[in-house]
């Protein structure tokens, strides 16, 4: 196996070990994260290498952990969620529409998509629970 593919495999391991290294950026630089997300998505849909697909999808599932989505941006988690999430939607959507996938590959992608969407749903529920919590309402009415 080519060495750079092995390095990407090891980097996928690092995403699990220290996700902060991938989610943190100086001054909350969204562009840097967009490039990273695009790269991981490219790997996740690279069906010519099942090894890379496995590593890429594992990375994306880890990064979509609701606690990790909160860290996509220190100041605007919801904005980053829509921004970075759009890159994911576009890449995975394109891969499914390309019609180059075999039936087992489509099944794997759909199951992967299901996991990611479940995590996104949890993040959104948690996020809106915080916004709608009584303490937030009280704070909101006091500031009005």
């Amino acid at each position: 196996m080519q060495l750079d593919i092995k390095i990407i495999g090891q980097l996928a391991k690092l995403v699990h070990t220290a996700p902060a290294l991938f989610l943190h950026s100086k001054n909350d630089d969204r562009e840097e994260k967009k490039i990273l997300f695009q790269g991981i998505c490219d790997i996740a849909v690279d069906v010519s290498s099942p090894y890379l697909v496995r590593k890429g999808t594992q990375c994306l599932i880890t990064l979509h952990d609701p606690e990790h989505i909160e860290q996509w941006s220190r100041t605007d988690a919801l904005g980053a969620f829509w921004d970075l999430g759009a890159i994911f939607n576009h890449s995975i959507g394109n891969a499914l529409l390309r019609r180059e996938l075999t039936s087992p590959q489509i099944l794997e992608f759909v199951s992967f998509l299901e996991s990611v969407l479940a995590q996104r749903k949890t993040f959104l529920s948690n996020h809106f629970k915080v916004i709608r919590s009584p303490s937030c309402d009280l704070h909101h009415s006091q500031t009005m």
């Binding site: 080519q2 060495l3 090891q10 290294l21």
Partner: protein
């Protein structure tokens, strides 16, 4: 110590043993407190080891160097994170040999296996470096694929 350092010469048959010896001393120094004599000694050993592995970017690194290099980078990071990130870690990415990028990622895995989260002081630089490492490896992989297709 002079004999050990002399054994680091490329022609020396004891080079591997001498390198392992110096790396072990650096690792031992990480267990001592700040300002200890052992740490002062380790700083000079680190400079010797840095010269050996990073003096020229064209220096060829072989598979046999992988484990000692990883041990050295982990010890160097634990002794002086800021300088190690700025010098050796950055050099691993700049180096044209893919093996050096493998050394870096394996070192990071070893470092963060034990830590819950990265040091806040070094997080900015490390996070930037890791993203760069990912982008470089991804780009190289794409280039190789294109060459193979052609």
């Amino acid at each position: 110590m002079t004999d050990v350092k002399a054994s680091l010469a490329p022609s020396s048959k004891n080079r591997a043993t001498a390198t392992a010896c110096l790396i072990d001393m650096c690792r031992a120094a990480t267990l001592t407190h700040e300002g200890s004599e052992m740490r002062t000694l380790a700083a000079s050993l680190q400079a010797t080891l840095r010269d050996q592995y990073f003096k020229t970017r064209l220096q060829k690194v072989s598979d046999d160097d992988l484990t000692p290099l990883i041990d050295y980078l982990v010890a160097a990071f634990n002794l002086n994170p800021a300088a190690t990130i700025k010098e050796q870690f950055s050099e691993c990415i700049r180096n044209e040999q893919a093996l050096m990028r493998m050394v870096l990622v394996k070192s990071l895995l070893k470092i963060f296996k034990r830590r819950v989260s990265p040091h806040s002081d070094s997080l900015n630089e490390l996070a930037h470096l890791v993203k760069l490492l990912f982008n470089v490896s991804h780009a190289f992989n794409c280039v190789v694929r294109l060459i193979n297709l052609a």
